[in-house]
Amino acid sequence: MQVKVIFGEENLTEDVPEDYTIKELLKKLGIPSETVVVKKNEAIVIEEELIQEGDTLEIIKVIFGG
């Protein structure tokens, strides 16, 4: 199934399997989950949240190090 992913300036379309979680998506994209807040269809969600067909996921980096 396809989902829309917004990460900073990037707008991506990702193919993910059924029963895929935010945590698995972040791992696939190589984004450390402890550095971001994720919104699913404009609502903040936890990393165990399941992704559904057509979801829009916004990944907001909140930790930059330093």
Binding site: E34, I44, I46, E48, V62, F64, G65, G66
Partner: protein, 318 residues
């Protein structure tokens, strides 16, 4: 458990690994507000009538500190002024200043912007030779390697904040230091054997010298990730960007190491802080340097030697 531990709402935004607690958006915001204000009372960070200078970079930590402390200002318990330091980092600092100003204005808090250029005659970029002039070898006599930007930035920022606090008649300087920052500082100073700096770590500075305005850290027990989550959940306008000079710092290495450990040991930052806070009074009693602080012959600020740290850097470049 997929519902809020406090109100039962099914839409949770955090599941805290260290406590097992799950919270919805509203209860999470409320819990952070309560925790920060509780710590403020517990560590006696503020007294009625204090004028608090908030060091406001525009980043998530200082903006969250500003908004939470503002609840005490609204109750006429404290007065506040916000100060943003323009270090002069091209392409990075400008947006932070704008966001800091917007936040202060939205709350009706007086806001001042003070720059390195104005006080010290050069920007951080110029100090580090990033301005195209080719200047900026930060080596001084005896140094084998150029110093890191964070060394200068920290010293000069503290100098300006202390000076402006005196000008403003501020009784406290509040910074946005979080749990990650504090555990990094504990580990860094211990590993480097920097005991003088180690014994100064805490929720509230305790200098015997009245010329140093007391510094407080209201967010000291809140993990950085939760401050980021709070900023997004409360829809605050924050500057989300990384300082270009932070890349190769020792702090960043230590920060990465602790984050890595925290994945399998979610309580590690809390236990590091708690353990340190228990041994600190003993360390402080045994290891506080004797002798009184004098006065910098150049700027008049408190100094351990003939010159304060900021002026010793400045003289080294002249």
């Amino acid at each position: 458990m997929n519902s809020c531990s406090k109100c039962g709402n099914q839409q949770i935004i955090i599941r805290k690994k260290h406590s097992g607690q799950s919270l919805c958006q509203e209860c999470f915001i409320e819990s952070i507000n309560e925790k920060v204000l509780k710590d403020t009372r517990k560590y006696k960070l503020l007294e009625k009538g204090d004028k608090v200078l908030v060091a406001l970079s525009g980043g998530k930590d200082s903006v969250v500190a500003l908004h939470i402390l503002n609840s005490l200002r609204e109750k006429n318990i404290i007065d506040m002024v916000a100060v943003t330091i323009d270090e002069g980092i091209k392409g990075y600092r400008e947006e932070g200043i704008e966001i800091a100003a917007t936040n202060a204005k939205s709350l009706g808090i007086e806001h001042r912007v003070m720059s390195f250029k104005e006080y010290f005659g050069r920007t951080l970029d110029e100090m580090m030779g990033q301005d195209g002039t080719g200047h900026g070898d930060t080596r001084r006599q005896g140094d084998t390697e150029p110093r890191h930007a964070c060394t200068y930035c920290g010293v000069f920022r503290r100098w300006i904040l202390n000076r402006v606090a005196q000008e403003e008649g501020a009784t406290k300087i509040a910074t946005g230091h979080n749990l990650d920052d504090e555990t990094q500082s504990i580990l860094m100073n211990y590993l480097e054997g920097n005991i003088n700096n180690l014994i100064r770590i805490g929720p509230k500075s305790e200098s015997r010298d009245e010329r140093f305005t007391v510094k407080i850290k209201p967010l000291r027990e809140i993990p950085e990730k939760e401050i980021g989550l709070y900023a997004i959940a409360a829809d605050l306008n924050v500057h989300l960007a990384g300082c270009p000079y932070a890349g190769e710092s020792f702090r960043r290495e230590i920060g990465g190491f602790i984050k890595e450990l925290s994945r399998d040991h979610p309580t590690i930052m809390y236990s590091t802080l708690r353990g340190f806070d228990k041994i600190k009074p003993i360390l402080k009693k045994e290891l506080t340097p004797k002798g009184n602080t004098g006065e910098c012959r150049r700027c008049g600020e408190p100094a351990a030697g003939e010159l304060c740290k900021a002026c010793s850097f400045l003289e080294g470049w002249e």
